[in-house]
Symmetry: C2
Subunit: 214 residues, 2 copies
């Protein structure tokens, strides 16, 4: 998950606690935490549960992650930051506002699909988590992500590509479709994530209703 | 929650374990279970947590609900059954397939909005729950609900009101918007749930893209 969000030449120091060095044990702990957070929620999962599942002592777990917030940071915040980084890069390259909306949807869906467990874990933790500092940071990132889509929509309305609409509602409408995909889409199934998004965009852009007969 | 799904003259017996008699204590337990399921998920909440929060003994809790499945039944399954009952009544009365789709969305949203805590609890329990008998029943009800929408969509395509589309994908597209509303909509805010659905339907039916200039 991290690998995509920092350049290969990055040599993070040990003091950089939110971007710990990746090793196999850490990856294993993160994978277990993702599964448990996804299944039981953030509040319903303790560090002891994670240590038990990883078959390590709590002391060994503390060596990697001093508390649950550090794991939350690693899973939810890093994931959101990487999502924003990739989506912004694609949106910046797209030539028109409408094409920016399309890239926002496509790249977001591909990102979520590529890392479903951590995405579901993050989503559950995000929605079910109590108020806390990591959650406040996650909300700020989530707002930044949503604001990026709203800017694309607003630009598309101003350019005349989109009809006039309530920009916030249009953003929610598109994000709802996106957010639910990991609930039902099987990456090994008949439809690729790209086909799903193309069908959704066709419906959202052109509407379900048949054109009135002349 | 139950009150809406059975007639006033219903005199359920004590042996009718899935439709227990309503009293204040039961309503209080259900309210607490809803909040805890919504916050920590079904797996992350124990009967002991619920008893502690209700300030009653576990024995007193067992008197009302012999196990967690019975509470799940009461909260998730009764809620889904009542949803289907109300939506079907409205869909049956609507004159055209397109109007049936509209009623499906409106009545569903109003139902979810009227009982947000139990809806969120049910939704979290549904998505995060392990495989179990109650979950299997919930999945069957969920499929029945989704099938009702797909029939309306398919009828609208056949009647020429809707463009040709993948019916399952169209159903998912509409349900995604519906399912996410309780995540962001504030019933005391500026928009009523009916206004939200009307805006969503306008976008879904007519599309976001501006008509091509002649």
């Amino acid at each position: 998950m991290m690998a995509t969000s920092r350049p290969a030449e990055d040599t993070a120091t040990e003091t950089d606690s939110f971007r710990p060095r990746v090793d196999n044990r850490q990856e294993q702990i993160i994978g277990i935490a993702c599964r448990l957070f996804a299944r039981r929620g953030y509040e319903g999962t303790s560090l002891r549960d994670i240590a038990e599942e990883a078959k390590i002592t709590k002391a060994a777990l503390y060596y990697h992650f001093p508390n649950k917030e550090a794991l939350y940071h690693r899973i939810v915040l890093d994931s959101l930051q990487a999502l924003i980084y990739h989506v912004r890069a694609a949106v910046d390259l797209a030539p028109t506002p409408l094409e920016k909306v399309r890239q926002f949807m496509l790249v977001s869906a591909e990102f979520m699909d590529a890392d479903r467990d951590s995405w579901m874990a993050g989503s559950n933790a995000f929605w079910m988590g109590a108020e806390s500092e990591p959650r406040t940071l996650a909300v700020a990132l989530r707002n930044e992500y949503e604001a990026m889509l709203r800017t694309c929509i607003s630009d598309a309305i101003n350019s005349g590509e989109f009809r006039k609409s309530n920009v916030a509602m249009t953003g929610r409408f598109l994000l709802s479709a996106l957010n639910q995909i990991s609930r039902w889409h099987n990456p090994k199934g008949a439809m690729t994530i790209r086909e799903v998004i193309e069908q959704y965009l066709d419906m959202a852009l052109h509407g379900l209703q048949a054109p009135a007969k002349a």
